[in-house]
Subunit: 414 residues, 2 copies
């Protein structure tokens, strides 16, 4: 309610005498969006993040390692955390590795009221030689900066942060299980810490990275899931922020998931618009493999980056591998809008080959069926199957790169 | 990415054998939305909030009162805060008034990652007899529950919380300036505190209320503002959460405001859809007074509650007062969609009487002009005027009720 005064306080307003008027615009387009915001992502953040200044304070009470079979995603954390403060006046402060500890926040801190928060999800893997590897960390850093810039939080030098995360992961090396399928989940997070209730760009922020050892998403092999198509709630829209990894996109997703769960489904599938375009499943991207109605040619489809879906790193990896390795086998690979009715029609006509979600946690997550308009759409798996051919293939290809079986530029050795 | 496993852990899933399929739905409607979510807002929260159990720990270091002229919105706070914990197992714990203090949060707390947070904005006023008054606190409590239920946070007994807020405000009485136009801004806030990275309904939460003495929004009288119509970013969408007071709705608003400010405008005006419907201004609701093209009859218009605008308490108050006091004077009062082109046309034809925002901070905020499609739409004020007749009238009516000059059921005496 006080944005105006707050803004005026934060940034000097140009003269009000002759406001520059934007040229006429008729439609919301990604290009226009980017143009209008172009000034911000590169805004100078005073002192840059400097990995050479890293200070390490080791814990005096090292934790016991949790047995692999008892690991629960994001529940147990390592001994330390990486932490860097930022202020508008001084930029990035000294990066520190400190014992994992509670944050002390003023109750008026803007992260608690206005969701000035964004994060990344990535993993560190131990390969068969005991080397630690990250998977495409550059993609996470790029996305973190897109997210933070969109909510007026500072951006960060991608290489510097990758280097610091590497130091942190090496420090926590003993927590990375060496069993295949296990890894150390990393959660880089940025929050606005300014203590004032005025709605404006935060004058201070905290970047921290915590780490949680995790097991495979499907410890006993794939288990195909059932989805409920959600047509009563909308996750994201063009011109909104659904393509950024903001906290803001997550809390509102839980209730539709709970509703789907109460009706027996493991996840909800977000449809968009009157056309009921397929967008995302829960918090994963979605892939659909089907045969063309006319030519019979196989096509792997996922929704395009039009602002309504998250720019998943695994989504991008599946697409790149599909282009490299499936197109030569006669596949078409498409980033295009696909209606739920088109998926249902393909299922009815026996042309739906398989459907799977993609994300950092599971890599791929096969889908058995989708509840849509009072019918169950069978996604092409045989009754005894828990995963389709492409899902299996993708999991093996990506895991092979993550654990260094295949030498590949996506794997970043620490 | 781990919603499924997290959900399964939180709530036992019904048998997967025969999932109940929802009947076919074709459109996103408010009614459908409410039906699908009906189970949640009334979900039992184990132990209810019990004001009789209130425990008070007084500060040993009382703060000095800031001189009225130095007050900045939401920057200085009172001696104490009201604080109540909630857990899924035990419901609401003992309510406490404690010295204002930092919160200690695990870095994995879900409020910091997934924006499990919602809040209210309300004020306490000292009337000419020194009595303390709240303004329509029932509306804030109802909205708080709508917000919290939508993001799977607990709901609270509205009367119990109002009573506790009353006790808290009485405790902080010395911070409420007695000068007209001054008040104590109250910020009830609820955050999810569960320490786990799985995306699911929080198993623990914290409700707290902090208070900040504030001065009038326009200390030297109204100052009409200039708006930039935003067509490149979209604040809210039908079926989304833009009608709830969630933190998630605020951080994404700052960049469009900064962009508008960089071009010389005090606020941005959110348009919606290809029709460019007028929705909200910055973080306020918007009212437009114009004459009908055919009949010349005066009409006060504001956007309807279709899910894309916040259900403002001031908006509702302006509407109710307009219905009671302007309709007898020949006005039409409408909650209807209005296109920006209709506003621009009315301005061109000399039928636009005035435009103003409405919100808790300013009550009303008059608008001088709106930059739209390369033109400046003049909102009807004369050059020497800073507010129109209706804005002035509404401010006086509402302030009269808030400060108890007029005896009215909206004013809640503590």
């Amino acid at each position: 309610m006080n944005s105006l005064r707050q803004l005026a306080r934060h940034r000097a307003l140009p003269s009000r005498a002759a406001p520059r008027v934007l040229p006429a615009q008729t439609s919301v387009s990604n290009r226009l969006w980017q143009r209008c915001f172009s000034a911000t992502p590169n805004a100078a953040s005073q002192a840059g993040l400097d990995p050479s200044k890293l200070e390490v304070t080791k814990t005096t009470t090292p934790k016991e390692i949790t047995a692999s079979e008892n690991l629960i995603f994001g529940k147990t954390f390592t001994d330390h955390m990486l932490s860097v403060e930022w202020t508008a006046a001084d930029g990035w402060h000294t990066p520190r590795i400190v014992p994992y500890q509670n944050l002390s926040l003023d109750p008026s801190a803007c992260v608690l009221h206005y969701a000035f928060e964004c994060f990344e999800g990535m993993k560190a893997y131990k390969d068969k030689n005991g080397q630690i590897r990250l998977f495409r960390p550059d993609k996470n850093m790029t996305r973190l900066n897109k997210s933070s810039a969109r909510i007026a939080l500072p951006t960060v030098d991608a290489e510097a942060l990758t280097k610091l995360i590497g130091e942190f992961v090496k420090q926590e090396s003993r927590f990375i299980p060496s069993t295949r399928g296990y890894s150390l989940y990393l959660r880089p997070t940025m929050i606005g810490t300014q203590s004032t209730l005025g709605v404006g760009p935060p004058g201070s922020a905290l970047l921290f990275v915590i780490a949680s050892p995790v097991g495979p998403y499907y410890p006993t092999g794939f288990k195909a899931i059932s989805l409920e198509a959600t047509d009563y709630a909308v996750r994201a829209w063009p011109g909104g922020v659904g393509d950024k990894k903001l906290g803001a996109n997550y809390a509102p997703c839980v209730l539709p998931q709970l509703n789907a769960a109460s009706r027996g489904f493991q996840q909800n599938l977000w449809l968009f618009g009157e056309e009921e375009y397929v967008t995302e499943v829960g918090t994963m991207n979605l892939f659909i493999a089907l045969k063309d109605k006319d030519t019979g040619k196989k096509e792997l489809v996922t929704a395009p980056l039009d602002g309504t879906i998250l720019e998943g790193v695994t989504r991008d990896s599946v697409l790149e591998l599909a282009r490299e390795r499936l197109i030569p086998k006669g596949w078409t690979v498409s980033e295009r809008k696909i209606k739920m009715s088109e998926v249902a029609e393909a299922a009815e006509e026996g042309r739906l080959l398989e459907v799977f979600g993609s994300g950092t946690a599971a890599i791929v997550s096969p889908v058995r069926n989708i509840s849509y308009r009072g019918k169950m759409v069978n996604c092409g798996l045989k009754e005894e199957e828990e995963a389709g051919e492409i899902a299996l293939q993708m999991k093996n290809w990506i895991e092979g790169i993550q654990y260094g079986d295949e030498s590949h530029p996506w794997s970043y050795v620490l």
